[in-house]
């Protein structure tokens, strides 16, 4: 699934990182606990989260996650967006809550998950 399809499915707004619109996403992770995100390794991941702070971007950076979706209409502050920009990440925001956002992506075929060990 391409990033532009994710935007379409989630009716999301792109806040930065238009260069990744054609990037292929193979799996997703929905979490507010960043250490849970880091226990999960997989390539081409989109991270959905309700947590808004710079550590979300740091965590994504360490994990080579290029696309982050903030759920429930949350909008990160400028410093967070700049951090993402520096790391070449795409940041999206959707009005849907976590469960619905994950469900929509899952039902459209984004079902890949990570490996825990």
């Amino acid at each position: 699934m391409k990033v532009r399809e994710i935007i379409d499915i989630l009716d999301a707004e792109i806040l930065t990182g238009e260069e990744n619109l054609d990037m292929e996403i193979k799996s997703a992770c929905g979490a507010d606990l960043m250490s849970d995100v880091m226990a999960y390794v997989k390539e081409n991941v989109v991270l959905l989260t309700g947590l808004v702070n710079p550590q979300v971007i740091r965590t994504a950076e360490m994990m080579d996650i290029s696309v982050v979706v903030f759920v429930r209409g949350k909008r990160p502050e400028k410093n967070i967006i700049s951090l993402a920009e520096e790391a070449g990440m795409t940041i999206l925001t959707t009005k849907h809550p976590m469960f619905i956002a994950c469900g929509k992506l899952y039902s459209k075929g984004l079902q890949g998950r990570g490996v825990w060990d």
Binding site: D36, V41, T49
Partner: protein
Amino acid sequence: MSGSVMTREFVIPANDFAAAGEASSSVKRMLVQLGVDPLIVKKTAISMYEAEMNAVIHADGGKALLEIDSEKILIKIQDQGPGIPDLDKAMEEGYSTAPDEIREQGFGAGMGLPNMKRYSDKLDIKTEVGKGTTVEITIFLKQA
């Protein structure tokens, strides 16, 4: 083999949750520039970041030392915090002593040390209550 050791030192600032992770971010970029295998970069970055976050959360920061030679990446995170009273317990997934305000920030899930163990090739922790903790993370450049 010797003589090709590269070292760097980073300060992990105290009480600066927003800036936490800068040292790990610098190291990650450095390893990418050196052309280190992406999986090894990721293992190193995650382990170091968890250790760096622990130093910020539990110990008012500290310092990070990076040492790279032809065989391995060694990262030492040193703090002068409270130490870990029960290391076996701290290694269990889900066990955490982090305060609620840290949990609200998405950390303190009791996954930090288990994640370090998961991703490092060797993990050495020296800790003394009231004195501080040193976490040594080794990642081999040639993975078995």
